[in-house]
Symmetry: C2
Subunit: 318 residues, 2 copies
Amino acid sequence: MTDTMTVTFEQIEQAAARIADYVHCTPILGSELIDRAAGCEIRFKCENLQKAGAFKARGAHNAVLSLSPGQRRGGVATHSSGNHGAALALAASRMGISANIVMPDNAPAVKVDAVRAYGGQITFCEATQAAREEALRVLCDRTGARFIPPYDHPDVIAGQGTAALEIAAQLRAPPDVLVTPVGGGGLLAGCAIAGRALMPDTQIMGAEPAGADDARRSLRSGVWQPQLAPDTVADGLRTSLGELNFAIIRREVDDILCAEDAAIIEAMRLVWTRMKLVIEPSAAVGLAAVLAQPARFAGKRVVIVLSGGNVDLDRLPW
Amino acid sequence: MTDTMTVTFEQIEQAAARIADYVHCTPILGSELIDRAAGCEIRFKCENLQKAGAFKARGAHNAVLSLSPGQRRGGVATHSSGNHGAALALAASRMGISANIVMPDNAPAVKVDAVRAYGGQITFCEATQAAREEALRVLCDRTGARFIPPYDHPDVIAGQGTAALEIAAQLRAPPDVLVTPVGGGGLLAGCAIAGRALMPDTQIMGAEPAGADDARRSLRSGVWQPQLAPDTVADGLRTSLGELNFAIIRREVDDILCAEDAAIIEAMRLVWTRMKLVIEPSAAVGLAAVLAQPARFAGKRVVIVLSGGNVDLDRLPW
């Protein structure tokens, strides 16, 4: 696993070659009815159709595959209430190593089930950052497992950036705008690096809930700001922006868009209804933000990353 | 529009060329977790991602595009409680002609909305076959619209068969079994003709709800049997098998599988959860039927057509 704190385009290309046999090249789909509603041409990169139902499979596989045999020996571990845990469990099971996932005891049943379905070992803890970190420390000490962070690490960022490599290869021409959700920032940072290299005229934008707008505040102030007391239905985007990701995003990203929860839910439902795709609230924030600014995006060609589809079908937000 | 009562492989090839610019070549997707649960390798042909959310776009476009300018002049019409109405409205709007859709006054709101979204004119009638046919007759007399039947017509069957053309082209090797839902039988009949021509060693099977098993009864008895009093959650499969389709299915199809409603709902939920695809109950019947007979399909390579994704998100069956 790379430990230097930089991510280059070459690392993303290497990641793509490394993970090619393990993840899907996900389709890009569109809807005329959504285009008509938006007043622009939107293409959706369907990472909800990715292995384990989210783009997180890219970074997790790249990180695990980058470990030396010695580093892999004790297995891998992480703390996650969401998709990174399931993705890491899947990546580990395919390498024949163990994955220990620390999950808060209020984690949604659907995410707990996903980790188990991929063979992950779960350790529950209290739902605080301190409890998660302490449980992970104890677990790594006991098992010798290697910590694979959910977003703020070069191998994870390089893996997530492979989504933008695919976008550049799949489209006939680069879009005017590329929008990805931003929570911890791994996806946005990786895609920004790949996007700058391959689609230099494309504007790269993040999108986040108005109730967890730390990336926007950080980018606008120029100073990293943690996300205290997030309040949003988009459970994958409540986390603070990673500091390494902030450095990359500050350099490479054109803007951070915001969307209210009501608009996120409406956009989620629009994708379910018109695209026939199950996406989670976090995946809908890009569309919600674009629909909220029709004048800004009028006539443009926009690619939006649908980041994941792991949602509890018994607790839909409508 | 062709009026002779045969469908040849050549007609399906011509249909594919005719509709190529108007419909999607839908992706084929799989899930390791579903394969593990099923004990066989299943690939899903995602017609829920088709234009207007169902395979019906294929037949509707082929039928409308096959009309001469004179035949098109008065527009087109049909009676439909479901996906054929929306598909026909879409096809007509793209040709710049009108579409009149007779719908029963108990049609689901989501299907009514879809017809309207594609610009169709709706005439409501009582929810009986006699009322639908009478309303359609009056409407065609008044407007000069041409009736495009939902399934029992060569141009419609040839259009639906293009799904199997794509399957043969998309897969590296033909599957052991191809399963499509069977209601009116247009999809199954068209896919059987294309499948026999391109994948002669592939078994072609229909799947239908146990509560609307007229295709199975007809095939087993050798005598066409209407579906009286259907009782199933799969609203797209309640109709009787078309007589032309019965003649084709009797000749070309290896078996008709059945699934109970509880299994259909479970399979639908499995596809939503694991594949992140919104499918309607009718689209889940193939998977439900395959999962119900693990010994029969063990180790086989099975392609299942997910026929559509038009479902009311406020009235999910779980």
